[in-house]
């Protein structure tokens, strides 16, 4: 096995040194992220497989159109863009923290890490709001010939195809009194809830116009499972990233890295954090854009 390589070149592979000029910890982090990419990849690809096995899939713009404090305003994709920007910005602050670590600038490391943590927590709060909104939302949905008020859960999806006016008119007859009250009151604010509650079934039905209710049939159940499953798994990564960053912050404060002479740990934490951002890019694509 005579080596004929040019002697003047660095022989990266000849042993006794890292062929990538990279300490083992960072290498392991990279390959760990690689395997984690396969975990997420498997989730997203399963989602794709199921989506391709369905005749209908909800339009994300219809599903994700709420904004905290904006009531029932139709603001498609607005909130998720906020979430996306939060993650991008937190990724930038993490880059700056790692950079500060390279320079051994403890104060700057602390500052940027703290901002990154804030970003992570902000993202998690947004996600909590979004989940809460989706689960507890009440959408009039045509299910099995009657109209029900349902939220987006792992067993029901309220965002199927738009139901025809005739189907809705039929369904209204089978719909419970309580649901009718809700339906009417959401359109007609002139009558109080109590008054409506006292009205008869027929009266209530006559007050709604089946044509402009825009009621949907129930959609593919798999939507909820995948949405909560995958964003939840991502959120779990964000959460663990925040925990890691908090640990890094404490260690920095305690001068652990200063004493060690390098801030390589921060670099590894940074890789993890960027990965979380990277995954979000794909989650964003798969669930919100296409």
């Amino acid at each position: 096995m005579a080596t004929t390589a040019n002697v003047h070149q660095t022989k990266w592979w000849s042993g006794g040194k890292s062929p990538f000029n990279m300490e083992y910890g960072k290498l392991m982090m990279w390959y760990f992220l690689m395997s984690d990419a396969f975990t997420f990849g498997a989730f997203l690809i399963s989602y794709g497989s199921i989506r391709f096995s369905q005749n209908f899939w909800p339009d994300p713009n219809v599903v994700f159109n709420a904004f905290p404090g904006a009531g029932h305003a139709n603001l498609p994709l607005a909130f998720v863009s906020v979430m996306t920007f939060i993650l991008i910005i937190s990724s930038v602050t993490m880059v700056l923290a790692v950079h500060a670590g390279h320079k051994g600038d403890k104060q700057a490391v602390v500052k940027w890490l703290a901002w990154t943590i804030v970003g992570g927590l902000a993202f998690l709060s947004c996600q909590a709001w979004e989940w809460h909104h989706l689960i507890t939302g009440e959408h009039a949905t045509l299910i099995d010939g009657q109209i029900k008020m349902v939220g987006q859960t792992t067993t029901v999806n309220p965002w199927g195809d738009l139901a025809s006016a005739s189907a809705v008119a039929d369904a209204l007859k089978n719909t419970s009194h309580e649901t009718l009250v809700q339906l009417v009151s959401s359109h007609d604010h002139s009558v109080s809830h109590e008054q409506l509650a006292g009205m008869s079934q027929e009266k209530l039905i006559s007050m709604v116009n089946a044509a402009d209710l825009h009621i949907r049939e129930n959609g593919p159940v798999a939507f909820g499972g995948y949405f909560y499953g995958i964003t939840g798994f991502h959120g779990f990564h964000v959460f663990s990233g925040v925990v890691i960053n908090i640990i890094m912050l404490i260690m920095t404060q305690k001068d652990v890295f200063q004493k060690r002479g390098h801030y390589l740990m921060i670099e590894k934490a940074g890789l993890y954090w960027h990965f979380v951002d990277l995954v979000w890019v794909f989650v964003f694509l798969c669930f919100y854009l296409i």
């Binding site: 990266w12 040194k17 890292s18 062929p19 990538f20 000029n21 990279m22 300490e23 083992y24 910890g25 990279w30 690689m34 990419a37 990849g41 690809i45 399963s46 794709g48 497989s49 199921i50 989506r51 391709f52 096995s53 369905q54 005749n55 209908f56 339009d59 994300p60 713009n61 219809v62 498609p76 994709l77 863009s81 996306t84 920007f85 991008i88 910005i89 990724s91 930038v92 993490m94 880059v95 700056l96 950079h99 390279h102 195809d161 738009l162 025809s164 593919p220 390098h262 390589l264 940074g270 960027h274 951002d277 990277l278 890019v281 794909f282 964003f284 694509l285 919100y288 854009l289 296409i290």
Partner: protein
């Protein structure tokens, strides 16, 4: 762990590698800041374009006759933009672009597995749909969106009630 051989100290610490010259690609502070700023702006702009496309798809869907091909093209564009975003995050933020070429290869090459992974899974999902539409009429009628619905129903109105 007092006097005995402590591998964490003597073997594994980066100190065991004087050969690893922790080259910092971004020693030039200003250049680094500029690069980060540029990337941030780039990522933001791409995201905004993506959102715009998302909304465009929304309006197309709302319109009278959604153009399926146009929607598909828009979706394709978003996918490409997403890959561009991923590239910038990995290459700049994660500094992969600054590593030794071989290192980059060990990350990029295994990712190629995703190509067949995606094609096979999606193709089989699609084939499952076709099989079900063919052999499970109830599935077809209960899930096919309205406009296709009518076409599918016309030849056999008797089936309209479905199985349930």
């Amino acid at each position: 762990m007092s006097t005995h051989f402590d591998p964490t100290k003597h073997i594994s610490s980066s100190a065991a590698y004087p050969e690893v010259s922790f080259h910092h690609h971004d020693t030039d502070d200003a250049a680094f800041k500029k690069k980060v700023r540029k990337t941030t702006i780039l990522l933001s702009v791409i995201t905004i374009i993506e959102l715009a496309i998302g909304l465009a798809i929304y309006t197309i869907h709302k319109g009278e006759n959604p153009n399926a091909l146009l929607v598909l093209m828009f979706k394709g564009a978003v996918c490409i933009l997403t890959l561009a975003k991923a590239y910038y995050i990995v290459s700049v933020f994660m500094h992969l672009g600054d590593e030794i070429r071989n290192m980059i290869m060990t990350i990029v090459v295994p990712l190629m597995l995703f190509i067949w992974f995606i094609i096979a899974f999606v193709a089989d999902g699609n084939s499952y749909k076709n099989l079900r539409n063919k052999y499970d009429k109830h599935f077809q009628e209960s899930t096919m969106p309205a406009d296709h619905h009518k076409k599918a129903e016309e030849p056999k109105p008797a089936d309209a009630g479905g199985k349930q």
